[in-house]
Point group: C2
Chain length 94, copies 2
C-alpha cells in the first residue's frame, strides 16, 4: 500500500502546484523551480516525494531531466474516496 505515500505526497501545497504545472506538459526540474521561491534542492526534494508516490515520472534528455504526470495512481485515490462517499459504487446518482 504505497497508497499512504500518495496521500502524503498530495498533502503539500507546493507538490500539488507542481502537479498542476505538469498538467500542461513535461517540465524540467529547473523550469519547475523557477515557479517557486525556493532553492533547487528543495524542489528536488519535493520531486523525489512525488516520484516515490508514483505521481510523476522522469525522462532524461540532453542535460535535463523532464518530469511528467503519472495519473494512474490517481485512480486508486479516486476509488478510495468513492467508496467512502457512496457505500461502494462510484459515480452514483442519488
Amino acid at each position: 500500500m504505497a497508497f499512504a505515500e500518495t496521500f502524503k505526497a498530495l498533502s503539500d501545497p507546493v507538490r500539488r502546484e507542481i502537479l498542476e504545472l505538469l498538467k500542461k506538459g513535461p517540465l524540467s526540474a529547473g523550469d519547475i523551480g523557477s515557479h517557486f521561491d525556493m532553492t533547487g534542492a528543495t524542489i528536488s526534494y519535493h520531486l523525489k516525494i512525488l516520484k516515490q508516490a508514483d505521481l510523476i515520472y522522469e525522462s532524461r534528455e540532453k542535460n535535463f531531466i523532464y518530469y511528467q504526470l503519472n495519473t494512474t495512481v490517481l485512480e486508486e485515490i479516486m476509488l478510495w474516496i468513492s467508496t467512502l462517499k457512496g457505500g461502494d459504487l462510484n459515480d452514483e446518482r442519488e
Copy 2:
C-alpha cells in the same frame, strides 16, 4: 480554500481509518478511541482536524458526542483529481 486543509486531513493514516470506521455509521469519540492504541486526547486531536476539514460533523446526544462522515467535501477533492487526470471532464473513457 479549505481545500488544502482537507488534503492535510486525509494525509494521516489514523484519520483515514477513522473515516472508514464512520462509513458504517456514527460513533462516539470513545468508540473511535477504542479502535486505536492511543489516548483519548490524541483521538480528540484527530477528530478536531477532521472537523476543521469538514470531513466529519458531530451531534451531541446524552453524555456523548457522536461523529459522522460528511461526504460533501470529498466531491471537491474528486473534482480536483479529475481535472488533473483528464484535462477537465471527469469520468472520462479513453
